[in-house]
């Protein structure tokens, strides 16, 4: 078997404007775990060796480089590790289907406020939240990874559009900050 070279959608692109950094990040394998009716216990058992469990709605957990993110009713993404054999769930590899953008800096929240119809201020969206919401017209999963840091997961086919939206909003926020009233 020839070794195929995996390429990310944006070639690891990054930029920094007005103290906000936007960068494509590599997160490793992404596996969707959709719990089948009656499968809750079996899935919990299968995830136990990783020290993880199915997350509550709107949240994610991390343990030793592995991350599990709530992505819907009875559904989560396991990220950063290969998925162990799981009974009681429909398991699908999603690794090539997503692009992850990291947005950080004190004004990152202001950038997202221009695009996302959900309150992402720290009080309403503390670290550990994972929200399914929209970035303009794109569906996205937004993770609050730090007080001033987010990761935004979008469909890989939307990577350049997402980059364009976030880049434009970042420039606008920086320009607005520069205007003296």
């Amino acid at each position: 078997m020839p070794e195929l070279i995996a390429k990310s959608a944006l070639d690891g692109r990054s930029m920094n404007v007005g103290g906000v950094t936007l960068a494509e990040v590599q997160v490793g394998p992404i596996t969707s775990i959709a719990v089948l009716p009656g499968g809750t216990k079996a899935v919990a058992k299968g995830l136990r060796p990783l020290g993880l469990s199915m997350p509550e709605p709107n949240s994610f957990h991390e343990r030793k480089g592995a991350r599990i993110v709530w992505t819907g009713r009875e559904q989560a993404f396991l990220i950063g590790v290969d998925c162990p054999a799981l009974e009681g769930a429909a398991v699908t590899d999603q690794s090539d289907g997503w692009t992850v953008l990291a947005l950080s800096g004190p004004a990152a929240v202001d950038v997202l406020a221009r695009l996302v119809p959900t309150d992402l201020r720290l009080g309403a969206c503390p670290v550990g939240r994972a929200l399914r919401t929209g970035v303009n017209h794109m569906n996205a999963v937004i993770l609050r990874t730090g007080d001033y840091a987010f990761e935004i997961m979008v469909f890989r086919s939307m990577a350049r559009t997402a980059w364009h939206e976030l880049e434009t909003a970042t420039h606008m926020v920086a320009a607005r900050a520069g205007v003296k009233i």
């Binding site: 709605p57 009713r73 119809p117 919401t133």
Partner: protein, 87 residues
């Protein structure tokens, strides 16, 4: 307008898609009469008051919801998951 999704919490109307009356959940069974199909597909009350409608959390958790809403006061008094409603 905001809807409180049972899973996602309070969200802006932009995240939702409106489908129509809850009646769409009550599809006639096999062998139903033409009158029943006519009613299911076409006949709706135009209520000034409490209605129950189907909404889809399109830019959220992708669940279908039954929303109870008052067309006079605009009050939203209930949002339930279709997937978890009592059959």
């Amino acid at each position: 307008m905001r809807l409180t999704c049972p899973l996602c919490g309070e969200r802006d109307r932009r995240e939702f898609y409106y489908y129509g009356a809850e009646d769409y959940l009550h599809r006639p069974g096999e062998g139903a009469s033409l009158a029943e199909w006519d009613s299911y597909l076409h006949l709706r009350d135009n209520v000034a008051g409490v209605v129950r409608d189907l909404w889809y959390h399109e830019a959220g958790c992708a669940q279908w919801l039954v929303v109870t809403r008052n067309t006079v006061t605009h009050e939203i008094s209930g949002v339930e998951l279709v997937a978890e409603r009592a059959k």
